[in-house]
């Protein structure tokens, strides 16, 4: 009796597995199984945008970043097809979308890789929807190897003396990351900031605090942002960083070392609202600080080698 029960159980289990397989229809294969929500990046988003464009809902660029434009397109699609309007590409929405649209993944990815300006509307010849982007600066980026080599060697030298262990691991990271993201022609940035603002800040943070623990780097980035907001300092990131005599790394040129990913990440965190300093606008290294004025500021806390104050 019990033996039979077991067999029955096994059969039920097998059946259930079979069911799952069939409830996952083959057409959805291209999409991975994730629910895609606003802010996502990657191949699934490229497919989502391309499919929405194919049936005329999405008119923006197919760039692999799920921004507001994609969000509205998806909601309108859900509305017209009687799906739950939540702006999420869940299983049902993806199935419906796959049923009513086509997606030539190879073609789309080739266009992106070539940096072409292209669209993917259904019912129109694909060849007519693409043209090379004259903005893709093949000629623009090429001709600087002249200045690069000696600066690079200089940088590596400096890195080696100052922060050996950091650089080794992080160049690895950087390589991996670029490999991951080359697919996309756009990236997420925090509201009101450009990648270049982030890079410039990363330069400053790396120059000032590369030997510090991670929170110490976030803290330096937060101080820069606190200064931008403060009425007694310039109102732009560049203004604050290049203010004469404000940062030692700027004065002695260390700001031009190549920052690592850690510094960039710290800057992103600071921009996204992390401020371990408690709204400090000054900091100093007690071992090297020569001005007695700075010691008189009300101190908030010490992180790593720096004391942060108001």
């Amino acid at each position: 009796m019990t033996f039979r029960k077991y067999i029955l159980l096994v059969i039920i289990c097998l059946f259930a597995i079979g069911l799952q397989e069939t409830s996952n229809p083959k057409e959805v294969d291209a999409f991975t199984n994730q629910i895609i929500q606003r802010g996502s990046v990657g191949d699934d988003v490229i497919e989502l945008q391309a499919r929405l464009q194919y049936i005329g809902y999405y008119k923006g660029k197919i760039d692999g970043v799920f921004g507001w434009g994609t969000y509205w397109a998806l909601r309108n699609f859900q509305k017209d097809y009687g799906l739950t309007i939540d702006g999420l590409a869940g299983l049902k929405t993806r199935q419906k979308l796959v049923n009513v649209s086509k997606f030539d993944g190879k073609w789309v990815h080739t266009q992106i890789a070539k940096g072409n300006d292209f669209t993917y509307y259904g019912g129109t010849d694909l060849a007519k929807q693409t043209k090379p982007n004259r903005n893709a600066p093949k000629g623009n980026t090429a001709p600087q190897p002249k200045q690069q080599p000696n600066q690079n060697t200089q940088n590596t030298n400096n890195n080696n003396t100052n922060a050996t262990n950091n650089t080794a691991t992080n160049t690895n990271n950087a390589n991996q990351n670029t490999a991951n993201t080359t697919n996309n022609t756009a990236v997420n940035v925090p509201q009101g900031f450009s990648q270049n603002d982030i890079n410039l800040m990363a330069n400053a943070v790396y120059g000032e605090a590369r030997g510090e623990p991670y929170e110490g780097q976030v803290a330096v980035a937060a101080v820069i942002l606190n200064r931008v907001e403060s009425p007694t300092f310039p109102n732009t990131v560049a203004g604050v960083i290049f203010e004469p005599r404000a940062f030692t790394a700027v004065a002695d040129g260390q700001i031009w070392l190549t920052p690592n990913d850690k510094a960039r990440e710290a800057v992103l965190d600071a921009i996204n609202g992390w401020d371990p300093t408690g709204e400090a606008i000054y900091y100093f290294n007690p071992d090297t600080a020569t001005s007695s004025w700075i010691w008189g500021r009300p101190q908030i806390k010490r992180i790593g080698k720096h004391i942060f104050c108001k």
Binding site: G39, A136, N188, L225, A238, P298
Partner: protein, 446 residues
Amino acid sequence: MLRWITIIVLAIGVTGTAIWGYKEHQEKNAILIQAENTYQRAFHELTYNMDLMHDKIGTAIAMNSKERLSPQLAEIWRLTSDSLSNVGQLPLTLLPFNKTEEFLSKIGDFTYRTAIRDLKKDPLTDKELDTLKNLYTQAGNIKDELRQVQHTALENNLRWMDVQLALATEDTQADNTIIDGFKTVEKKVEGFAEGNIDSAISGTSSENHKYENVEGPKIDENEALNYSKDIFNIKATKDLRVTTTGDGADIPLYSVSYSDGKKNAYLDLTQQGGHPITLLVDRPVGEKQISLNEGYKIAEKYIQEHNFESMELLNSSQYENVGIYSFIYNQNGVRVFADAIEVKVALDNGDILGLTANNYFLNHHKREIPKPGLSTEQAKDFVNPNVAIQEDYLAVITNDLGEEVLTYEFLGILGDDTYRIFINAMDGTEEKVERLNGKEINYAGI
């Protein structure tokens, strides 16, 4: 004898000259760096101002009320004059860049004229609106080009001193990237005849005031350590370091840090009640395994476990393999923007990498929210009719005067852009208009 004296005198002379030369060299370097920094500052400010101006023009298009539009136009006017002075500080004298300068002053003239006009009596005409839209596109083009130049300059550590030299010596092979970039900007222009720095969330108050919501009994260092142990997900408290804040802090905190070579963690806890203010975990994040959406579920569960109740997701973004989520407080269906929390989740295994609840503890308190004086439909009439409204909410935001006001929040589309518009729920004042971007061309990818 005489020979020795001569040798010594000469030796002293040579050493003296060497020292003097070295000093001179150092001084020259210091001055070079300073000059370079001035150029760099002007350049980076120029690109930032152009970006900001583009954004402000875009926002102006979506505005409806004179009370908002006039200051906005004045702001754009200020930005044009700032940008012009930035251009003026760059060593571009030998480079034809006058078309761009003309373009800037054209925007300046236009915005100045419209800003000082009484827009209530004499609103923007359709033609002027078209001009504004044109300026928006053109400013967008220039911004993109400048950002491209900036990207290459940052990536390759290009120096403005080199630009100056190249321009001064009229190098025939002038293949200087900065010069090329500026020439492209200039060509683009030929073809056609104070920023938001609060956190990622708008409407949060940047005014300093006392922490509203820090309750509970005072905790001692041991309790802080035990709490951190759980939050860092480690076994023993002996590897932890704890420090306290000094006199300058707005609120007394314990700062706990941990480091084991691979992982590095930091936590700020209030001494009163032991609430977490800032959590930062630093470790290498591997290949992405879970989706942004799954990360959201994890983040949501995490903040519930830490007694933040009735929070809703405002925004989510994926950076590399990390998801960043912004939550705001929802009081009986009214979104309170000031009470914000941000959470960072690693998308390789779903670990929590960060939490910042500073705004939440600074602002959160029980609010008496009045009934709105206008209906949603009535409030919609105050929105620029060209904006296609997609979503609406009731929201409490902090306005320009630093007061909390009840508003209708409308999300709408105009052209290719999405706007968030806040209309006062009592009297229909246009409290705030924002253009939502949050993504950008990947300069490194093309």
